[in-house]
Amino acid sequence: MSVFNRNQYIAFVCSLIIATVLGFLLLLTGIWYLIAFAGFAAAIMVQKRISVIFLSTFIAGLLVSLIYVILLPVSNEVAIMNEVATLAGFPSALLWVLMFLVSALLSSAGALIAASLIPFFDKPGSQASG
């Protein structure tokens, strides 16, 4: 975090919280792709340097999956994922990685898309400071 200044740090945390909470809520619809809107919304709201919002929304995506995982009985999850991995012919670890990665990528992709629109919502100096 040393590369961030105080404003950026606050923006990072805000973006992280917004994307995580929104991502969690949007996933309750059952449509995984909607996590992209969480990242998008966080980016639009925070409007900071792209590296800040990318990183924060990426981690937010990971957190969203993590929250769903820790709300379930973990040892049974391992058994289930092993079962699916056996059927699919993939290593179980790959399925876990993919589950987290897809959330993270969707969230951060939403933020990246938002980056192109930020200038249209830009407040004076916000990009410059970012």
Binding site: L28, Y68, V102, S103, I113
Partner: protein, 857 residues
């Protein structure tokens, strides 16, 4: 505002300029990357199930909740009162409800919670709708299943039961049970869908469960009738008869020359009219033979992969009177042999409601306990295997949409089902046609009968009269029902056993269906095989012929019954043991590997080889010497016996079968026979041949079924022993060819997921011991056997024991998926906890408690 507006506008213009000219990377590239990522994930999600499977909220990870074993409460629509469900320490569910409808509702919910995918597959299989789940590859199966009439019968059965429910008490009981059971299954479908916990295979295959109806319950019953009582032996007999004429009666005798024990009596001279009928076979012409071959190939489609593989019926039931047991009261042993699968075909429960308190095993999709006990009685089932599996074939003349009967044209009845037209004559569905001729099947499974109602009534019977009365409506599948209460033992084989009109052609082959030959009635209920408190003090009914040759009705030939060696071994054991305990009987059932055929034949074989100077034969004699005829995994004599028998079988029959054109011309439709019920890979069992061969060994001649009739039995036996030794030593030159290297049990995953098979696991036994369903060798282990072993102690039913090879859950990730397999293999029966009230369970005996409450209560 204007200043700000100007500022924003100028910024936008600057940005637009950047896009057009300088295009700063951080303005253009990130959104492009973002779009690419989203598009890629969407594309992957649309062409693979990966995204929906891994979805943290709706995907497979949520199924981890299904594996939780803990106290749970569900609020369910449709329940009237609260229901307590205790899962005991062995995983068995005990359901305590305040009404029958709540009881069956709860059974449906609990069973679906553990076995929904299995239930749904069974329903589709019975209804001939497998391709709706599994695609085009099941179209042939669906077509054949629809043609048999099973789906039509399931619909008609339910319609009849529902319509009669106010006039008929049994139909009312059935109607209540099936409707409530369906409601319970559907409640679980709704619950699991809403909570994202639909069974894993639904998610992986992208399927939605269909709602259960009582028609599917009847379809499952049809499926079981097909498994147990649906055969093509009549077609095979006709084809063989067309090749060898009257010699067929020597190859396939009407009565076994070696069986001596008939549980229902009628030993003695063969009934002359039955013999005349059996030996008057209709000779089919070339067109009929051609259709027969086509139909035999069609039968090969049944059953499909998604069902335990059909195995030769091979079940065991023994009841012992109190004067021969250590408890002073009867003991009942049940061991229905079916194809193994994980999940198992059985689901173990105790069902309690006012007027109902029964323990046992139920099928997927049917709420009745099939085999079990209540506080007063115990019962178990084996297949009678009688009367050509209740499947009769007729040649009929057809013309367009009509058929001839007594030279008069009648319109075909056309049923539209599963997108097909199924044409029925007065005798049954047309299975195959060629020009103006058709083969029509009259299958007893297509008769209306409320057999489920009979089972539901058995559950509440308290004595023999009620039990027998409940079974008076039973039509199919043909089953032996063993019975015991505290003071008596009995057995009865109720069914619709047809009596034929007309010129009495052999019903065990294709018959002419022009008007004179048809099923005109059935054996009266008081004449079906039965016995009460026999003087022997025990009853054995293990698929052997139930009644002897003097029985006054045609009851089938040696093609359909078991060869009877298991039954004879069991009778032999019981004759030599008294004061038998529950645990002795369970050890006998699972761990006694005595091969009765070997016991009869090996002394004779020894007499042929023991004096030989040939070193190989001397070595074989040394191996056989002192053998106790037990097919132990550590026995080399067991391996030598098995392969000697197989070589002898081949040396006796194969040259003859080649000579008559069975092999190779007809082996696609008749199969390549091998001994012990087709125990070699990719072969077919013919009980008649096994009976013949033992008879030949004991009598010293295989004539006329040896290619060279000058070959003596001694010569054949010597050759077979030599071949067996060569074969075994070629695989194990050290001579350590123990039986465990060739034999063991495989428990395949029901849905063909071989990663979740269990086994093969070595275990003793062979086709002639209680615990087997044929198949041997490194690539063909038996995948069937005693699918539920149970020994009921009638002095105190709470001290009964049993186990089935499987587990209560269908999910391979569950600890309850295959946890009983090792118990079954080792013969470790589990206590069958029988508690009248939920509160009777000690905490040590409880795994979890599930409370089902009416929604809104």
């Amino acid at each position: 505002m204007p200043d700000n507006f100007l500022h924003i506008t100028s910024t936008k213009i600057d940005n637009a300029n950047n896009l057009v000219h300088g295009m700063k990377w951080n303005k253009v590239v990130p959104p492009i990357i973002g779009v690419i990522i989203v598009v890629l994930i969407v594309v992957v999600g649309s062409i693979t199930p990966l995204v929906s499977i891994l979805n943290p909220y709706r995907g497979v990870i949520q199924n981890s909740r299904n594996l939780v074993i803990s106290n749970q409460t569900y609020n369910l629509p449709g329940l009237t009162n609260s229901v307590n469900v205790v899962q005991d320490s062995n995983g068995v569910y005990h359901i305590y409800a305040q009404s029958a409808s709540d009881l069956y509702y709860s059974l449906g919910f609990i069973q679906a919670k553990n076995r929904l995918f299995q239930i749904e597959v069974f329903g589709l299989e019975g209804m001939g709708q497998m391709s709706t789940f599994f695609g085009q590859s099941y179209q042939n199966y669906d077509k054949f299943q629809t043609m048999t009439g099973a789906p039509i019968t399931a619909e008609m059965d339910w319609a009849n039961v529902y319509d009669n429910r106010s006039a008929n008490v049994t139909d009312s009981t059935t109607s209540t049970a099936l409707l409530s059971y369906a409601e319970g299954i559907n409640a679980y479908i709704n619950y699991s869908d809403a909570h994202n916990t639909l069974p894993l295979l639904f998610k992986l295959l992208g399927l939605k469960p269909y709602y259960w109806t009582p028609v599917y319950s009847f379809a499952v019953q049809e499926l079981m009738t097909q498994t147990l009582e649906f055969g093509d032996s009549g077609l095979q007999f006709s084809l063989i008869y067309s090749m060898i004429g009257n010699a067929t009666y020597d190859l396939i005798p009407t009565f076994s020359p070696v069986q001596s024990y008939y549980y229902a009596g009628y030993s003695g001279q063969a009934n002359s009219s039955v013999m005349t009928e059996s030996h008057d076979t209709y000779l089919p012409n070339a067109t009929v033979i051609s259709m027969t071959k086509i139909l035999l190939k069609e039968f090969a489609y049944d059953p499909p992969t998604y069902f335990p593989v059909n195995v030769p019926d091979h079940s065991n039931e023994i009841v012992i009177a109190g004067n021969r047991t250590s408890t002073g009261n009867p003991i009942l042993m049940g061991g229905p042999v079916l194809g193994f699968s994980l999940p198992s075909i059985w689901f173990q429960v105790q069902l309690v409601a006012p007027g109902i308190d029964a323990y046992g095993v139920v099928l997927p999709g049917d709420p009745a306990i099939v085999i079990g006990f209540n506080s007063n009685i115990a019962w178990t089932l084996t297949d009678t295997q009688a009367i050509s599996d209740g499947t009769f074939f007729f040649v009929q003349q057809i013309s367009g949409n009509s058929y001839y009967w007594n030279s008069t044209l009648h319109p075909l009845k056309i049923y539209k089902i599963n997108g097909m037209d199924v044409n029925w004559t007065n005798l049954g569905p047309i299975m195959v046609e060629n020009g103006s001729l058709a083969i029509v099947m009259d299958w007893m499974g297509n008769m209306f009968s409320d057999d489920l109602g009979a089972l539901l009534n058995i559950m509440t019977s308290s004595n023999w009269n009620e039990f027998k009365s409940a079974l008076s409506i039973w039509k199919a599948p043909y089953q032996n029902f063993a019975f015991a209460n505290r003071t008596m033992i009995a057995d009865i084989s109720p069914a619709y056993y047809p009596i034929f009109s007309g010129t009495t052609y052999n019903p065990g082959s294709i018959m002419p269906g022009y008007g004179s030959e048809y099923i005109s009635g059935s054996v009266p209920y008081n004449m079906v095989p039965q016995v009460v408190n026999p003087s022997d003090g025990f009853i054995v009914s293990s698929n052997q012929r139930q009644v002897g040759p003097a029985y006054p009705y045609w009851y089938g030939n040696t093609m359909s019954f078991s060869d009877g060696f298991r039954a004879m071994m069991e009778v032999n054991y019981l004759n030599n043991h008294t004061n038998i305990s529950v645990h002795e009987l369970s050890a006998f059932q699972q761990l006694n590997y005595t091969d009765y055929a070997a016991q009869q034949a090996v002394p004779k074989i020894m007499s042929y080889i023991s004096s030989s100077s040939n070193t190989t034969l001397q070595r074989a004699a040394a191996i056989f010497s002192g053998w106790n005829y037990s097919m132990e995994t550590s026995s080399t004599a067991a391996s030598l016996w098995f392969f000697t028998y197989q070589y002898l079988f081949s040396d006796v029959f194969m040259p003859y079968l080649e000579q008559i054109g069975w092999i190779p011309a007809n082996d696609k439709v008749l199969g390549v026979p091998s001994g012990m019920g087709g125990s070699l890979p990719n072969t077919t069992g013919y009980a008649s041949f096994d009976v013949d061969l033992i008879h030949y060994i004991l009598n010293g001649s295989a004539a006329p079924f040896t290619a060279d009739n000058n070959t003596t039995m001694r010569g054949l036996v010597v050759m077979a022993v030599d071949q067996a030794m060569d074969h075994l030593l070629s695989i194990y030159p050290s001579g350590n060819f123990t039986w465990g290297k060739f034999y063991g049990f495989l428990f395949p995953n029901l849905f063909g997921l071989s990663s979740f098979n269990v086994g093969p696991i070595s275990k003793g036994g062979d086709f002639n011991t209680p615990n087997d369903a044929s198949g041997v060798g490194p690539s063909n282990y038996p995948t069937g056997g005693q699918s539920w072993v149970m020994v009921v102690n009638l002095s105190n039913v709470s001290r009964s024991i049993g186990v089935y090879p499987g587990g209560q859950s269908e999910d391979p990730a569950s600890s309850q998926y295959s946890n009983y397999v090792s118990d079954w293999i080792n013969g470790d029966y589990l206590p069958l906890l029988f508690a009248a009230k939920a509160s009777d369970f000690s905490s040590a005996n409880v795994m979890s408690v599930i409370q089902l409450n009416p929604q809104g209560a």
